[in-house]
């Protein structure tokens, strides 16, 4: 039995898994940056509103 043609399926499976895991990591990190920035802006604006 030759396994040579099957390496393509193995590589494709690992590529799909890597891409999906990377997308999940990037998604969670990007959401954290977005929420942190939004919270910082709101807290700054709230503080400056209190000061005036």
């Amino acid at each position: 039995m030759s396994d040579a043609p099957h390496w393509g399926f193995v590589a494709a499976a690992y590529a799909v898994a890597a891409a999906t895991i990377l997308a999940m990591i990037v998604g969670v990190l990007a959401d954290f940056r977005f929420q942190s920035a939004a919270l910082r802006r709101l807290e700054d604006a709230h503080r400056s509103g209190d000061g005036s």
Binding site: D3, H6, A17, T20, M24, G27, F32, L39, G49
Partner: protein, 253 residues
Amino acid sequence: MWNLANPTIFLALAQRTLPWLAAATAALFTLGLWLAFAAPPDYQQGETVRIMYLHVPAAWMSTFIYGVMALAALGTLVWRHPLADAAQKAAAPLGAGFTFICLTTGSLWGKPMWGTYWVWDARLTSVLVLFILYLGLIALWRTIEDAGRAARAAAILTLVGCVNLPIIKFSVDWWNTLHQPASVFRLDGPTIAPELLWPLLVMSLAFTLLFITLHVMAIRNEILRRRVARLTMIAAASGDGLSPALATAGMRP
């Protein structure tokens, strides 16, 4: 344990544990991948057995995460645990991601081994239903604006969807399927050779740690999102001129 219900305590704990969790996950993946490619080929499957080191852990994670969501749903409906809804909402996209990996890697294994990418087999179909359930839950949270109503609706749908878990597990016993029966969790012990079993177990642990790491991060995001929403509501109620800041944050004043 109950102290974790306090979002401030959870955030502090997350900040301390996340670097260790991420490092442990990366180390286990490195070891798991090395073992996966150092393992001998299977006498029947040949090199395609290496797809199993992704497919099987992803399959386990897809049902495990749904179990976590079901527990969180109980926490939302019965105990009204403050972080239960956040934990449930944070887990759904991760569950969908792992189920997607399970379905695609299974399909890529099926073509060389079964001669087809897909069959409407009981196991494959029930896992596809699980994937659709995850997508439905994500859509439900996005479509219901009231957070409390969305949490209750999602919790009920999650608990109803639990009926699919035993179907997935026992589909290979109840019906005559193309998918092979369980070969690791059996009363008479695993039927896999140790050379192939070890990489599978290490990769499963790596997938589990990856989920825990991402879940803690996603719950942290959910807590921050709620703080942003609360500040937005306070600003809107008091009309203290936060509109420019809210607009940049993508919020309606």
